[in-house]
């Protein structure tokens, strides 16, 4: 009977374990905030690098 139930579960994809409690706690937003900060830091770094290279290019052109 249990095997049959398992088969049914697989068939209808009902009781598939997901991070539901984790999500209902609301703490998932903390993770999203942390990753967003990391991404923002990376982008700011890329942006400043981009500007520095632009300055170098201008300097070389004016030499």
């Amino acid at each position: 009977m249990t095997i049959f139930n398992l088969f049914l579960n697989l068939l209808f994809l009902q009781d598939v374990e997901m991070a539901d409690t984790f999500r209902s706690d609301g703490k998932i937003y903390v993770v999203v905030i942390v990753i967003s900060i990391v991404l923002a830091g990376l982008f700011i770094y890329l942006w400043t690098l981009d500007r520095k290279i632009s300055k170098l290019e201008k300097e070389i052109k004016n030499q």
Binding site: L13, I35, R51, I53
Partner: protein, 221 residues
């Protein structure tokens, strides 16, 4: 900074992907569970890598036709960032496979093909290092780049389909439909691909510009 709009688009797209990729709804599937969200981060690495490889190939052909050393610098920049993305794709894939396939490095045709392909591409950089003369180095590297591309693509795209792979969308002749995604996921997936491709182009443009500045400095000295 010239033409900043696409850089801003990159930032917006990737923030959307990270935030909605984690919070958005995904289909409930056994074994995969929440890890299906890796599709937004692991798969775009490969798409981004392929795009940069194609661009690198175009510049290599351009160099062979016109003989301008700058085109070779472009080809090198795109190829080197492509390899970095490939390594990230490989490592993320083995982390994901460790939990869903039960093995970080299973004997999967797609994995073996990629390993061979990456070795072929790494020989491109070894080859470059072994020449002193600029033009000779550039010409041989360009020819080898065409060869590497022509070997890599069939290895990764065609060969795994002739046998059977653990990767979805391999074995037989399937299309995108086999990725287990619903429509809500597809929107994020496409945004992720565009975002990560743009990110790859951005980083390689920085690498290329530094090398161009270096070239100019070398000419002056």
């Amino acid at each position: 900074m010239k033409k900043t709009w696409w850089k801003i688009l990159t930032v917006i797209l990737l923030f959307y992907v990270v935030i909605w990729g984690l919070l958005g709804p995904v289909p409930r599937q056994p074994i995969l569970n929440e890890t299906i969200r890796n599709v937004y981060f692991h798969v775009p690495m490969w798409f981004s890598m392929m795009t940069l490889m194609v661009t690198s190939l175009v510049y290599s052909i351009k160099y062979l036709r016109k003989g301008r050393i700058n085109d070779d610098t472009y080809a090198l920049g795109f190829a080197s960032v492509a390899i970095v993305l490939g390594i990230i794709g490989f490592v993320t894939g083995s982390a994901w496979g460790n939990f869903t396939w039960g093995d970080p490095l299973p004997r999967d045709p797609k994995l073996i093909a990629v390993e061979v392909g990456m070795l072929i591409y790494s020989a491109y950089f070894v080859l470059r290092g072994s020449f002193e003369d600029e033009q000779k180095k550039a010409r041989l590297a360009a020819v080898y780049n065409i060869f590497a591309f022509a070997t890599f693509m069939p290895l990764v795209w065609i060969l795994p389909r002739l046998t059977d792979s653990l990767h979805p969308g391999n074995g037989g002749n399937p299309a995108f439909g086999k990725y287990d995604m619903d429509n809500a996921m597809k929107i994020v997936f496409y945004a992720a691909n565009i975002g990560w491709i743009l990110m790859g182009v951005w980083v390689s443009s920085l690498v290329i510009r530094i090398r161009l500045v270096q070239n100019q400095l070398n000419e002056k000295n």
